[in-house]
């Protein structure tokens, strides 16, 4: 090769997407905020004053403390404590951790399922396609939140009590995935059935490239743009769905609270004047989802060729 292949970093810096990113202040702010939130959640055990999941570290003497800038506020409980002496800031950072993990997990799982089924349906057509799209129709004809509730309710009813708490996160990921994959499958399928008639795919077929290789190496890259946007926005949706289920009491258990569980606790103390128990988890949840949605909005516009 006479032309040196530019390395990944240079390629990113020279791309249209990066340029559009540097032009868009809201997107940059959102990315910065999101990075901050994810990092603080990831390193929660090293930066928080206590482990809120460990009952031995909770002290009832420190219960119901207001945030530090208020009269009875106490170091190191920056945002105050709840009725059991749990530091709110620590609980929020740990809670964001489970919210983010469940969000990423469900998006990843539904991407894998949705993309592979969509590719197969679009590429092979026929019965595979018909069955898959009918299943998708059924899932879309029931509101997402209901499907997620049903799955977690079923899991609660059928899992042994010991597994229920440990498996809560996995159940939530499954519950959210079950309705989220359809969107990816439909998008990929529509694009695939267009692409497979094009000449480059015909050429690959004539060269006896295996079907799986054609799908993954040749067609898939051409379907990724709308998928990327949908995945970003669905990450926000997944976090919201998880929070809603936990708030309703059928998500993460009280022993390992997510943001939704924390808001549920706080909600029970709404009338006792301990507003910090509910406001700060709410704020964290909103920051998380707003930053994801802002990024998604920017990405959608930046990748839309009509708006160039």
């Amino acid at each position: 090769m006479s032309l040196a292949e530019p390395n990944l970093l240079t390629r990113i810096r020279r791309s249209d997407l990066w340029w559009s990113f540097t032009q868009h202040k809201a997107a940059m702010a959102a990315a910065l905020l999101l990075a901050l939130l994810i990092l603080s959640a990831a390193f929660a055990p090293w930066i928080t004053p206590q482990n809120p999941y460990d009952p031995a570290q909770l002290d009832l003497w420190n219960a119901e403390l207001p945030p530090i800038w208020m009269e009875r506020g106490q170091w190191p409980y920056l945002l105050g404590t709840d009725n059991q002496g749990r530091d709110i800031l620590s609980a929020i950072l740990y809670g964001s951790r489970s919210s983010i993990i469940i969000g990423i997990g469900s998006v990843a799982l539904s991407l894998v399922i949705g993309i592979s089924l969509g590719l197969m349906a679009g590429f092979f057509g026929g019965i595979t396609d018909a069955v898959l799209m009918r299943v998708g129709d059924v899932l879309l004809s029931v509101p997402t939140i209901l499907i997620a509730m049903l799955v977690s309710a079923m899991a609660r009813a059928s899992l042994p009590p010991g597994l229920r708490e440990v498996g809560a996160g996995a159940v939530l990921i499954l519950a959210i995935t079950l309705s989220a994959w359809v969107q990816y499958a439909r998008t990929v399928r529509a694009q695939t059935s267009v692409e497979r008639r094009k000449e480059y795919v015909q050429a690959a077929r004539l060269l006896k490239v295996p079907a799986r290789r054609i799908m993954v190496k040749h067609i898939l890259p051409n379907t990724m743009t709308p998928i990327l946007v949908a995945a970003t926005l669905n990450f926000g949706m997944a976090i919201l769905t998880e929070a809603t289920l936990s708030f309703l009491g059928i998500g993460m258990p009280p022993s390992q609270p997510s943001l939704g569980t924390l808001i549920r606790f706080g909600n029970q103390y709404l009338f006792s004047g301990m507003w910090w128990m509910v406001i700060f988890p709410v704020l964290q949840l909103c920051l998380l989802v707003v930053s994801v949605n802002l990024l998604g909005d920017w990405l959608r516009d930046a990748l839309n060729p009509k708006l160039r």
Binding site: I145, L150, M154, A157, S158, L240, F247, I250, V290, D297
Partner: protein, 323 residues
């Protein structure tokens, strides 16, 4: 047209059958309901009798056929929890949910359409941008958060509005309404706002997008050239062209609103179907869960099918395009 109708209706029936199967599956997953309903003193004969009364001594396929047959006639069996007819439990709660959803829909149109028009006409001005940004935040706030914030603001701090319950209601036969009493109306305000906020942002964004598209079209340019006053172009000509998709989305979203109402109902302890469903989940009261799922999906599917058929009636091109 008849072919289209049959196709569309059989499709809807298929979806409902699948939903019924899903609802039925919960029964299979949840273990023996008789064990949940009885106490230690129940004799074996009583258990057997209960088993027969619930119809769970028969083969699975028979049970499913019976479940569907009964559901079509509006019979969802008896609640495991208090052994009342599920249908009457739901019928009792339905008016509360319906009232909330209809009011939220009306509110979303009354607020969303003007906001959408204004942000489209005055695109780029600071207040349109502010509304646009607020709508992103509105989409990002889950409805339970909105509910909590409203309670914190208007009930806890200001003490203006009640935070839970329906207030006093007036009964008309099996229907009940809170619209006729003062406390009923006050109790409706916060839940309605909480439920409609997301819908408002959707309506607003849709109207804005449609308006921007229409304002670029030739007939608007022509009207401008003819010297038609701006307000007349905006509100008589352009807005009318945008309303069709808005009506479609509103009709389709009523089903989703009924489903989402369960979150609002939990926050405000609103005695509707959603709260019944949440309580049913806590008590593993499966007939109520199954009935709720089937009924909400039925409303959802019926509305979607009606919208599709109406579209096909208006626009014949759609009749053979949909596969």
């Amino acid at each position: 047209m008849i072919v289209f109708l049959i196709k569309r209706l059989s499709n809807a029936a298929l979806v409902m059958l699948a939903v019924a199967l899903m609802a039925f599956m919960i029964f299979r997953f949840a273990g023996d309901p008789v064990e949940l309903m009885v106490n230690e003193q129940t004799t074996q004969e009583q258990r057997q009798e209960l088993r027969e009364r619930l119809g769970i001594d028969q083969p699975v396929l028979m049970q499913f056929a019976r479940f569907v047959g009964n559901a079509v006639q509006g019979d969802f069996g008896i609640s495991y929890r208090n052994q009342e007819s599920v249908m009457s439990l739901i019928a009792e709660r339905f008016p509360a949910t319906f009232e909330l959803v209809i009011l939220a829909t009306i509110l979303s149109l009354v607020v969303g359409v003007p906001l959408g028009v204004i942000t489209a006409i005055y695109r780029g001005r600071w207040f349109s941008e502010a509304v646009q940004f607020a709508s992103i935040i509105g989409v990002s706030l889950p409805s339970f958060v909105i509910g909590i914030l409203l309670i914190l603001g208007f009930s806890v701090s200001l003490g203006w509005l009640p935070a839970f319950g329906r207030g006093e209601v007036v009964q008309f036969g099996w229907w009940s309404t809170g619209l006729l009493t003062h406390s009923g109306r006050m109790a409706l305000i916060l839940p309605t706002v909480a439920l409609s906020l997301y819908q408002i942002t959707l309506v607003m964004r849709l109207v804005r997008a449609e308006m921007l598209e229409t304002l670029r079209s030739d007939f608007v340019k022509f009207a401008r050239a003819r010297g038609v006053p701006a307000w007349r172009i905006h509100y008589r000509h352009a807005l009318r062209n945008c309303l069709m998709p808005v009506v479609t989305m509103t009709a389709m979203n009523i089903g989703a609103l009924i489903a989402f109402a369960l979150v609002t109902e939990t926050v405000f302890q609103w005695p509707g179907m959603g709260l019944l469903f949440i309580q049913a989940i806590t008590f593993v009261d499966i007939p109520v869960m199954a009935a709720y799922l089937v009924i909400v999906s039925f409303i959802f599917v019926t509305l979607n099918t009606l919208v599709d058929i109406t579209y096909a009636l208006i626009d014949p091109r759609l009749r053979d395009a949909t596969t």
